[in-house]
Symmetry: C2
């Protein structure tokens, strides 16, 4: 519930999420955190982003409870940024970004990185919205019930 | 495959998606399009966004093949913006944003809009990444296989 000063009246959960994470660099920092990146310099190398922008995004992600700061795992003086439980819960969002990109932003013969299950080496199932009885739902089978 | 001039060397599908859709206003325009908003003035009223920013985002979403422009359904002179097939394929992304927001950005006693199946009126199943055998995967059970 941090960093939501401007959004607390927003009854739409999509809008609240977008306010916290709907930013190019924030999304890429979270992606890297899932890939095991933990240090400022490693985020910077991976993203090629200006220091001041990276500082700002890391601070905002910490304020929002998505990343936590902890001492370096090797005992050095560096700080590390790690996903909190709330940050790890962004896994479906990162997978949704990946799967849409794979299907719509690559040519058929173009290679891309793949997210696989470690145990089997197999790619993940395609992630689709489903009804409570588990059948796949198209957008027009759903509706938003607004607060009255 | 439009609007990817700067990203065509990016082998990461997450990064390509973020480049196209990883922006606060673009995400909210897409959310509204799923809710049936079609006209410039209706997007503007819903989002409270400046005209020049909305124009820019609509143009970029059209260029990226997410929205298409069509004549107004009622025969008037207005243009309408509707989701293409590729745009409709962003449904899992919007649901992931919604479900994360519902679980992490609302107090327990705080009300929010709900996405429900029209036929039953019931909320959707929680959408989680799954292995090919369909069991739910935590982030640490997965890894990204980079291009060698």
């Amino acid at each position: 519930m941090n960093s939501l000063k401007n959004m607390s009246a927003q009854p739409c959960p999509v809008a609240r999420s977008v306010d916290v994470i709907g930013d190019r660099w924030s999304l890429l920092v979270v992606r890297d955190a899932f890939d095991g990146v933990r240090r400022f310099s490693d985020f910077q190398r991976s993203l090629g982003v200006a220091r001041n922008i990276l500082s700002d995004r890391l601070r905002r992600l910490v304020d929002a409870g998505i990343l936590a700061i902890q001492p370096a795992s090797n005992g050095s003086a560096y700080q590390e940024y790690v996903l909190t439980k709330q940050g790890e819960a962004l896994f479906p969002l990162v997978v949704a970004l990946r799967q849409w990109g794979e299907r719509h932003l690559f040519a058929e013969d173009e290679l891309h990185s793949e997210l696989v299950e470690k145990r089997t080496g197999k790619p993940l199932h395609f992630m689709a919205p489903r009804a409570i009885d588990n059948h796949e739902l198209s957008p027009d089978e759903t509706e938003v019930r607004k607060l009255s």
